[in-house]
């Protein structure tokens, strides 16, 4: 077991290997954060749409979820990276003028964001539906509009209820950033493979990568636990009805 390789220099550069891995981790986290913003925003909108009383909106939301849930992530990556720019001429020109790394990053963010949004939409919908029907009626009875009802009554409680499954989705998102290596994004998994292949120290490299991913997952978990504590409603245990 040779653990000092992490401090050796990369063959064609003058940085140590650990810095390459750290840079990879930075890309992983950046991708995850940006994708989460999209996922949470789009997922909330779609989830809410599926609980309104306008059937066309419900169907549209369902369509979105079905499309993004039934195609494997790697296929979606390929679609966004190759097929979509290939079919849309305007995108084609934009992409060829773009910095390749930026294109990979943006593709990864959009792909992961929309993929995770479908799953968050499911959670948001489940959260809203789990609220007693009377809450919505009580809000209407006071004269609140549909939008006000969602904003002030339904969503605040629904979000609190779904913090555990949302935590899962956040951890899944971080794990799924590894798939971005397939389009060349130099995130952590890319760097891990690269280092393992060049130094041949597969065990040590994979072990460290495992630790880093594990630590990241643990941190995400703790972060959400903190969010849950901070948003707890007095008098309710985890916001049970």
């Amino acid at each position: 077991m040779n653990w000092s390789i992490f401090f050796e220099q990369v063959p064609d550069g003058d940085v140590a290997w650990w810095r390459m891995l750290a840079a990879g981790l930075a890309w992983t986290l950046a991708t995850a954060v940006c994708a989460w913003v999209i996922a949470f925003g789009v997922g909330s909108v779609v989830g809410v749409a599926r609980t309104t009383r306008w059937q066309w909106l419900v169907r549209l939301g369902n369509l979105y979820v079905e499309v993004f849930r039934n195609v494997p992530l790697i296929v979606q990556f390929f679609l966004w990276y190759f097929v979509v720019p290939g079919l849309v001429p305007a995108l084609q020109t934009a992409v060829s003028n773009m910095d390749p790394t930026l294109f990979q990053f943006e593709t990864a963010v959009v792909c992961l964001g929309l993929f995770t949004a479908a799953r968050i939409a499911e959670q948001v919908r489940a959260g809203i539906l789990s609220l007693a029907r009377g809450q919505r009626l009580a809000a209407y009875a006071l004269g609140l509009s549909e939008f006000q009802t969602y904003r002030h009554v339904l969503l605040p409680m629904a979000y609190r209820i779904i913090i555990p499954p949302l935590t899962s989705e956040l951890m899944n998102l971080v794990k799924n950033t590894a798939v971005a290596y397939s389009i060349g994004l130099t995130e952590l998994f890319f760097r891990t493979r690269e280092m393992a292949e060049i130094t041949f120290r597969y065990f040590e490299v994979f072990a460290v990568a495992t630790l880093i991913y594990g630590a990241t997952a643990f941190s995400a978990n703790r972060l959400m636990a903190w969010v849950e504590r901070r948003s707890a409603v007095p008098g309710y245990l985890g916001a049970r009805r």
């Binding site: 009626l137 009875a141 609140l144 002030h152 409680m157 609190r160 409603v233």
Partner: protein
């Protein structure tokens, strides 16, 4: 706008409602005049909760008309949030918003719907909270209150909107027996002040005390609609179904 009887705050005319193929309300007609207290009772499944929810358009209905202070509830052009802000409703399960403090529960709709400024809303909220006897609970959250306290706050919340009428949907059915009276006392007081009230309830003691009229429903139809003195004083003249119901209820 069709003419409505004088002083009829709530007017229900020939209302029918279906859930799919199942008819839940059949040709219901009744009215609540200004300042009147009308109690709606009947066995479960009789449609009484559904009927009262039609009054403020929480439930749609397919036939008939409902008018509240001259505004037609079923008319597509009616501004429903505006209508609902003028009619207060109290629910069986209180339905306070658990993530908001008591004060926020009381002021939310005042600020967002009536566009009152924050201080005015707070003052009104505190005043009504005091009126239902819960001034010291202002900073708490619904989850920290008992059922009876939550229901009294719910009544205060509805009153904060300065409603022209109040609808009660089985307000004491979900309460433990020792808390029923504290809520009924508030309702009796409200009636005494001349509020127009329509109450779905099993509490016949309350009905006998303050109701002007009693409406008995069974299987989606209005079977009896008589002054309360008639309903309680002259049970032999009542329909068979109503008598059966009364005899079961009044055993307590």
């Amino acid at each position: 706008m069709e003419s409505v009887p004088e002083n009829a705050m709530i007017s229900i005319r020939k209302v029918s409602k279906w859930y799919g193929a199942f008819k839940v309300l059949s040709d219901c007609s009744t009215e609540v005049k200004k300042g009147q207290v009308v109690v709606v009772c009947g066995p479960s499944g009789s449609g009484k909760s559904t009927l009262i929810k039609c009054v403020n358009a929480l439930e749609p209905f397919q036939e008939g008309t409902i008018t509240v202070d001259g505004t037609s509830v079923g008319d597509p052009a009616t501004d429903l949030p505006k209508l609902r802000s003028r009619v207060g409703m109290v629910f069986q399960h209180f339905e306070l918003f658990p993530h908001l403090s008591i004060m926020d529960n009381l002021t939310l709709a005042q600020i967002k719907v009536l566009h009152r400024d924050r201080q005015a809303a707070l003052d009104k909220g505190l005043a009504l909270l005091t009126r239902v006897g819960l001034r010291d609970q202002a900073a708490k959250f619904p989850g920290q209150l008992s059922g009876g306290q939550q229901q009294r706050v719910a009544i205060a919340r509805a009153l904060c909107m300065d409603p022209i009428a109040m609808l009660f949907d089985e307000p004491t059915s979900a309460l433990d027996p020792e808390m029923i009276n504290e809520v009924l006392d508030v309702m009796v007081q409200l009636a005494g002040e001349g509020m127009t009230m329509m109450c779905v309830t099993h509490e016949m003691g309350f009905a006998r005390k303050v109701a002007h009229r009693v409406v008995f429903m069974d299987k989606g139809e209005i079977v009896e609609d008589v002054p309360s003195s008639e309903f309680f004083g002259n049970p032999e003249a009542r329909a068979e179904r109503a008598r059966q119901f009364l005899s079961k209820i009044l055993q307590h």
